[in-house]
């Protein structure tokens, strides 16, 4: 009987993971297009359904009917394996996601490490897909993407380590528990949250870090030779990734499902109000992703790598040292972290721009601009 319950629970969790991936991907595509249109003062897709909300459903059906061919010279197995692998990451991350009070599919005691492990499925899939296409644009796009994703994985891990230090556990349920009563980690460690957010945007290959598929340089990057539903899988993963990364960020830094009136409405053992808080916070972050993409122009490839290795990684290590020191030697360490976190946040935000601008000016002086 217990086994049967476990199996039902497992099946329900898998179905929820599927639904989140598809609903998130389809919703995010419309959400992003409409939001960008709103910010650029134009209409955006508004024909299919009320306010165009069924646009991406129509696109999905269209993509289903498109011819899905494989280039003659491409590696037959790996070319198909790549789109399969890219979705494994998106589904598997949700195994440890605390959606709401009392519902986590499985609370692994190594949850944080597990998240790092399964999100790298995407990197592998992109690398495999680009290599297997046997196309120069694909290969360059895939290599760029892999270099970018491994470089930004380190600042991301360094930010996750801070969470583990403060909470004292890798389990995501413990992380959410530790953030009850509005002790959200982002509130007293905004600098760590900023580090994580920058690294997560780079991991998602989204603007301003969307070099792997910069259309002006690389046609369509690693996806150049993909068509039909195999391309659709990469596309879906990219947009589902927005929601999934935001869910991880909300769980780790913004208090997960915590919020007022947690026990107000419970249907069938599932608390509804925390679920609403969780989704609301997630979509605030998704909106922020769209906003950032619109506001900041794309980086150059050398600036991109330099930013990870020369700025984020040293600062991440410094942050760990500072956090450990505060937690060891300051009696009321939460307040200590609060002060350190906000000071370093404002120092970073305030100093980054002038420093980068000065470096750029120096670079321009070294390399004279050729005018005809």
């Amino acid at each position: 009987m217990d086994l049967l319950l476990d199996i039902i629970r497992l099946v329900v969790s898998v179905v929820i993971a599927y639904v989140v991936v598809f609903a998130a991907a389809l919703a995010n595509i419309v959400f992003e297009r409409r939001t960008l249109a709103f910010m650029q003062d134009r209409h955006g897709p508004n024909r299919v359904g009320p306010h165009g909300i069924f646009q991406s459903v129509a696109d999905a059906f269209k993509m289903m009917g498109k011819e899905d061919f494989r280039p003659a010279l491409a590696d037959p197995w790996i070319f198909t394996l790549a789109p399969i692998m890219v979705m494994i990451g998106a589904v598997a991350v949700q195994l440890t996601m605390p959606y709401t009070k009392g519902f986590t599919p499985a609370d692994l005691n190594v949850g944080l490490i597990y998240i790092v492990a399964v999100t790298s499925f995407t990197t592998m899939a992109i690398l495999l897909g680009g290599w297997a296409s046997r196309n120069k644009y694909s290969l360059v796009g895939a290599l760029r993407s892999a270099a970018q994703m491994v470089s930004y994985e380190i600042p991301m891990i360094l930010a996750l380590l801070i969470v583990a230090m403060v909470v004292g556990s890798f389990s995501l349920d413990a992380v959410v528990d530790a953030q009850a009563d509005y002790r959200w980690i982002a509130l007293y460690m905004p600098f760590t949250f900023l580090l994580y957010a920058i690294a997560a945007i780079a991991e998602l290959n989204r603007g301003p870090f969307d070099l792997p598929e910069s259309e002006s340089e690389l046609v369509s990057g690693y996806g150049t030779e993909y068509s039909g539903m195999r391309f659709g899988m990469f596309f879906l993963n990219e947009y589902a990734g927005m929601t999934i990364m935001s869910m991880v960020a909300v769980t780790l830094f913004l208090g997960g499902w915590h919020g007022p009136f947690e026990d107000a409405l419970v249907v069938g053992g599932v608390a509804i109000v925390p679920l609403v808080w969780f989704l609301l916070k997630t979509y605030v972050l998704v909106f922020a992703l769209v906003w950032v993409r619109l506001s900041i122009p794309r980086l150059q490839v050398d600036q991109l790598m330099a930013f990870a290795w020369k700025v984020l990684i040293p600062l991440g290590l410094l942050n760990i040292a500072l956090t450990a020191a505060v937690m060891l030697w300051v009696p009321r360490w939460r307040w200590g972290l609060f002060v350190v976190g906000w000071v370093s946040f404002f120092a970073f935000v305030g100093l980054l721009d002038p420093i980068l601008k000065r470096r750029l000016r120096k670079q321009r002086e070294r390399v004279p601009v050729v005018t005809s």
């Binding site: 969790s13 899905d68 990451g89 499985a106 290969l139 230090m165």
Partner: protein, 154 residues
């Protein structure tokens, strides 16, 4: 360094979580490694397999409904419309290789930092200094790579 850290980690894993032992953690369920361990791995594998199964199903369905009219031109490689020149599977820029090497070093560092984050309060000042020495050695390596110009994208 490593032996006390691992010892403390094992001790941590065997011990029930309670508010006094773990900062920030309220009273929660006791974690029994042995009984939950296999179940957890079963969950992990079923999620990974079901992710793959989903995509395979979608690709099969789309295979059934979509048309297939291959022509030599369609199956050729895209290279801006001209016939492809040479093989793309030729040796490639060493830039990416250097970054992959640096990544390996720092990823291994993260592996060592992960257990330390859970036990650094029990290890106290000695553990802090030792871990900072370890990090300093790696940062020294990063500085070396930086000075050597490995981080410049030339």
């Amino acid at each position: 360094m490593l032996a006390p850290a691992l010892g403390a980690l094992v001790e941590y894993a065997d011990r029930p979580l309670s508010p006094s032992t773990v900062p920030g953690r309220r009273a929660g369920p006791t974690i029994h490694m042995t009984s939950e361990y296999l179940t957890n791995w079963f969950y992990v594998w079923s999620f990974i397999v079901s992710g793959a199964v989903l995509v395979v199903l979608i690709l099969l369905v789309s295979k059934l409904v979509n048309p297939s009219h291959p022509t030599p031109g369609k199956l050729a490689h895209y290279e801006c419309g001209i016939p492809p020149v040479g093989s793309p599977w030729s040796p490639f820029a060493v830039r990416y290789y250097v970054f992959a090497l640096l990544f390996l070093v720092f990823d291994v560092e993260a592996v060592f930092l992960f257990p330390w984050t859970l036990v650094f309060r029990t290890l106290g000042t000695a553990g802090f200094i030792e871990m900072m020495l370890f990090v300093a050695v790696l940062v020294w390596g990063l500085v070396y790579a930086w000075r050597k110009g490995a981080l410049e994208w030339a």
